[in-house]
Every structure is written in structure tokens, then in C-alpha cells.
Symmetry: C2
Amino acid sequence: MDPSAANAQAVERLMEARPVLRGVAPAREVIDGFDGRKLLHAGPPIDWERASGPLRGAVIGAAFYEGWATSEDEAASMAADGGIELAPCHHHRAVGPMAGIVSPSMAVYVVENDTHGNRAFSTLNEGYGRVLRYGAYSPEVLERLRFMNDEMAPVLQAALAASDAGIDLRALLAEALHMGDEGHNRNKAGSILFLKHLAPLVVEVAPSSGLAARILRFLGENALSVLNPVMAACKAMADAAHGVEGSTLVTAMARNGTDFGIRISGMGDEWFTAPAATPDGLYFSGFSSADANPDIGDSTITETAGIGGFAMAAAPAIVTFVSGKPSDAMAATLEMYEITVAEHRHFTIPVLDFRGTPTGIDLRKVVELGIAPRINTGIAHRQAGVGQVGAGLVRPSLDVFERALVAYAERYGFA
Amino acid sequence: MDPSAANAQAVERLMEARPVLRGVAPAREVIDGFDGRKLLHAGPPIDWERASGPLRGAVIGAAFYEGWATSEDEAASMAADGGIELAPCHHHRAVGPMAGIVSPSMAVYVVENDTHGNRAFSTLNEGYGRVLRYGAYSPEVLERLRFMNDEMAPVLQAALAASDAGIDLRALLAEALHMGDEGHNRNKAGSILFLKHLAPLVVEVAPSSGLAARILRFLGENALSVLNPVMAACKAMADAAHGVEGSTLVTAMARNGTDFGIRISGMGDEWFTAPAATPDGLYFSGFSSADANPDIGDSTITETAGIGGFAMAAAPAIVTFVSGKPSDAMAATLEMYEITVAEHRHFTIPVLDFRGTPTGIDLRKVVELGIAPRINTGIAHRQAGVGQVGAGLVRPSLDVFERALVAYAERYGFA
């Protein structure tokens, strides 16, 4: 079977999806099947025993946050014996950066794809430093989560409810790509565009000017504040491309800190996994590659949707953060055209004469050319409770793509 | 005399100037010698008789705004017979975009150069469309000016008074250049960085949440809101470089819509002028080059300070606004290295491997190489009362540089 027509259909759905941020709500109220002592996590399925340090740390922190446990041992035993159920974000139309933990009472952004009707969810971004998503769970981490979820989220919820149009995240991303962002690790422009849209609404609905100012500072000082809505937008786009019979388009790439996994449009809900690689990058003062956990997070949904590492030519300044030279950023994008099926109609790169970003990874091309997708990423400490130690670049093993193609061939005949 | 050492000193002062936005105040309260029926305008000195349409329109609008006149004829006669005094912004440490009109009761940004102690001023930016600076003076133009000066300015004044640090405009510009701005016609990133700094302060000091929200919308929806503070910052930098004995550094380039003029660091307050050229560019629907007024505005202070047309390689997306291809934007910057004496220490261009912007125009190099500075600019309708008709690119005549060099040689001996 020749998957070209199926891939063209799938990538068309990916590009024409129009994700709009429409609301904020407690996760348990909007995510189906999310009740009891259940936590969502990044990447393909995993149990406590095989979970990496940062994922374990985030599970412990979420158990504290939900009031399920008061000590690390208590939380760990609960998670180990099934007293806390773990499930991938991706199984619940959600995505989470790094450990990606979503607990039932955390607030999530609600993104609707106006073209195809599907929805996607992501938590609010915590900012830099010691944060849950990197496996930290100290009192300051929990206190910040309480501010975000108990004080900020209801205001954002009311602000978005007061906006007829919501926030068109595809348009925001298109603009941010003309402003030096690539949408994964560099979201400086997108985050202040996000602030620009929200600020007047927040001021109008906040119960006090003090809280409004605190929220505007929190969002404005966090150059990643739009990352989570962007990830949900990419998830909404990728989900729209999923399930096209015969398509070899990659519709999810995700890591749980132990395994890297992909899903293929024409291959249903099956995950193809392999051990996660460890990123190369730049480390914060006092840390080195010896501290790095293997790659972790659902944020590779950005590369899956044609931005992030695939759009680095739009964001040459990112090399100060992830290593390399501006010419490397350009080369990364140019190489990704080799393994994709389209140039994005809405996401363009000015310095490449407004060429569309390389979009829609074709499993066949990855395997035939031996070119793995390029991902840029944060780097978590390998131990629970520490946090971020750097940022860098990584490529997943080709093995996972090869096995997916074998499975495809078994199902559809050789591609 | 060899001006190299003097130029090195002058450009060092230009680069090390650190302009910080510290306040907003009525022009008459902070600008020396600004009282009575006096208006400041862009460019070198000019009288009513020689003034172009857009400058005349802005003078009429300012006379209406100040309550000096109630009809066009009344305002025109007043300006023609000296009942309204006209003086260049540059003679009062101020700069203004396009017609550049400052009237005594208009609010101005107060920018302080923390390194050398000098100050500079600029009005608040009106946004796009029918605006005074392009020579429009309809009721909506005056109503907007009243909102800006009577309602918004006092809040910005209180907001900046509440900020110990002020807003470091050199740092803001450095960041914006990594986000696809060049600082003259593309200030998308800088304007929302500006909003990010101001938003929480505005919320804290505004008398009502309604006014706070209106101000945040006004600033946020205007992708040029930071242009005027940026121009004042550039003026503060250029003034710091002015007055170095023997220096051939250009410390002002400005146009009043009739004449283009420059000042030279080592040549005191003398203007060297020639007729202003007319920009080439892209026109708004319904307009063409036949509608274009010759080049107008003090905004060329940006190119004088090493950004704007000189930094276009940082802003490839600008070509959608001013015409050309991204490679033209790159070529513009590369050419400007030929006529400048330094690469800016603080303003860098990621795609050029973080090379500093071409900074400090050397009069000698312009004349010897026959390369005029590249300027990008808005285009005003040639008739009073119409407004902006497009945006484009322009180079001043070499003649003005040649005459300045002759004058320099007469004063200092041949350079």
C-alpha cells in the first residue's frame, strides 16, 4: 500500500486544525475518566517501578498537593502498590511538559479545534527553577501550585469566559514564529503575546487589582507561560491527524523519562517505544551531563506538529539556551524537510523566504533516510526532588521508528 | 586631522549610554524653553511657508488640540504669521515620529541616560490609521489625543513613579532585536515587552479597573507603542555621542517632510540639509506613490543609533511591510557595516552569529564610498489631513553628507 494519499489527508487535517483557547477548568471536570487517585503523566505508559527520578518526584509532589500523602515514603508506597493510578496524558487528550503530571484538582487549559471539533488539555505553566514538572516538590513548589490553581486559574477561567473569540493559538504561534520563537523551548514572544491578549480581560474580571497585578507579573515574567497552551494546541492538531487509515504520519512523540514512544496515524492507539536518549546541551551552573535524566515530557508534540526543533531556523537566538550556533539551528530545520510530508501553510519562517515549517513526520522517510527527528528540550536532574539542570538537543533512537514501520507493514502490507 | 580617535570616543559614548524610561510628564513641565504658543516638529528647522502637507496638518491639529484655533484657516494664518512658533524637537532634546509635533500640554516620556546624565523626550504613540503624526486632525484624532494625554498619561506617570528601576530601554531593545524587531518600523516585540513591564504597574495605580483595561488594550493593540520611547532612547544615546571635538560621527538624521538634515558630533549645532527624498515602498489599498510626501520624521534617530534600517537583518519579517525580500533585509545590514565605525556591544543579531549591529555612521565613509544610510520609514500622504498611505525604504541624498564633510574640512583641515 502506498500511504502517500493517506498522509496527504492526515497532514491536511493537521495543518487545517484551528486550536483556540476557550477556557480554564479543574482537570477532573473536563477530562473524561479522570477521577479517584489518578495522575496523568508524560510519555507512553509506565509504572512506578520503572519510573525515572523526576517522574517519581512529580508523583510525590502531586500526592502532597492533593493531600493523598504527607511523606515521600507514603506517596511512594501508594504509587508502587497501585494506590495511585498512573496513566499517560495522551490517553486523556492531554499533554504535559517534562514529568507532565496532571492531578484531578489542578486547573487545565481547554483548547478546542474549531475545524474538527476535538479538544485538548494542559496544565498551567509553573515557570522556571524548582518546579513540579522537573520533579521538585519542596514547599515552595506546592505553594506556587496552590497560587496558580486556587487563585490564578479562576481568574483566567473568568477572563476567557468573558472573551467571545478565545485566543486563536494557531494565529498566535504563526506570529511568534516571526518573532524569534520556535514554540518549544523558546516561547518568549508567544508568552507575551499571550499576556497581551489576557491582560485587559484579567484586569476586568479579577476580584482585586492586587491579584490582577500578581497574575500579570506571574505570566509576564515567565517566558514559558504559553508553552502549555501551545502544547495543547499541537495535541489538538496532531489528534486531528490521527486515525487516518493507511497513514504513516507520526501523530505523537512523547517521553516519560524512561521510554520514548510514538504513535502513528494509521496504527490506532498502539505505542511503539524504546529507551529514551539523554539530551546533549548546556547545563546550569553546578550541574553536568552526569546529572541528566534521559529525555522526558510530552513537549515533543511541538515537533510532531511542525514547530519546536523543526522550526529552529525561525529562532536563532535559542542556541544560547540549547547549545550550538545559529547555523546549526538553520541546519536543523533544513534537515527536517527531508523527513516530513508538507511545508506548513500557516507556520512560516521569514529568513527562509517565508517557507512553511517542515510538517508531518513520515515514518517511512525517517527509516529510509535514517534521519531521526530533531528535538530541543529541557533537561531534568535524574534524581527526584531536584529540578531542571539545563536544556539541549536530542534525537530519539531510530529503532522505535523501524519497529513501527515493521508493524505497519504487517498490518497494511509493505509500504 | 584624523578623526578616528574622536570617532572611537564618540561611538563608545553612544554604545555605553544607558537610556532608562523614568517618567511621563506634560511637555511644558519638563522640556526647557517650551512655553507660549510653540510647537516642536520633526527634522531640521522649517517655517510654515515651506512646510509639507503632513507637517501643516499636524500643526493645525495641534492648534485645535491646544484650543489656539478652531478652523483650519485660523490655525494656518496663526502659523504663517508667527502666532505659533515652530522649533525642531531636536533643539529641545526631543524627537517625534513623522510630523513629530509636540505641543505644550501633550504628555512626553522622560528618558534618562544613566551613564552620562542627559535626558530625552518623546510623545506617546497614537497607533495606526488616522493620526496626528501623519498630518490627520479629524475629531477622532483629537479625541484619541485627549484620551492619551488626559487619561492614560497620568496613569503611566504614576506607574513609572511606582517603579524603582524604571524601564531599561537599552535592555528592552537588545531583547527585541532577538525577537524579530529592528526598532524603527517593526516594534512588535518591543511594544509587548513594554506592555509586560507596564501592565502590573498600571493595574496597581489606575483609579479604576476599567481605565486600566482600556490602557492595556490601547498599548497592547498598538505594535508601535514602544517606538516613541525607543526614539527618545536613541536620542539620549546620540546626544551622548554629540560634541566630541573632531569627530565625524553622524549624531542626528532627521526630516521635516521638506528637508533632510544631519548633525555631526564635532560640528556643534549646525544642520546640513538637502531636499528630502521620497520613499519607495508598499502602499495601503487605494494609495500609490503619487500620494507620497517626501520623507518625514525624527525616527531616523534609530538608524543614527545603530538600529532600524541598520538592523534589518534581525527583522526579516519586516519586508511584508516595507517591501523587498528577507535577503534584502540581510543585505541592508551588511552594507551598513561599510559606513559605520563599530559593531554594537549590546545590540546583536542572532542570525549573523550575534554580530553587533552596524553603529555610528562615519561621515567620511559615507562620502568616500558613496553609500548613503539606509532608512526604513512610514509614508505620509502629501496633503494635510489624510494620514499614512504606506511604508517603505529610502536613502537620503549624498549631497548633504558631502557638504557636511566640506564644512568639516574647513573647520578642522582635511580629514
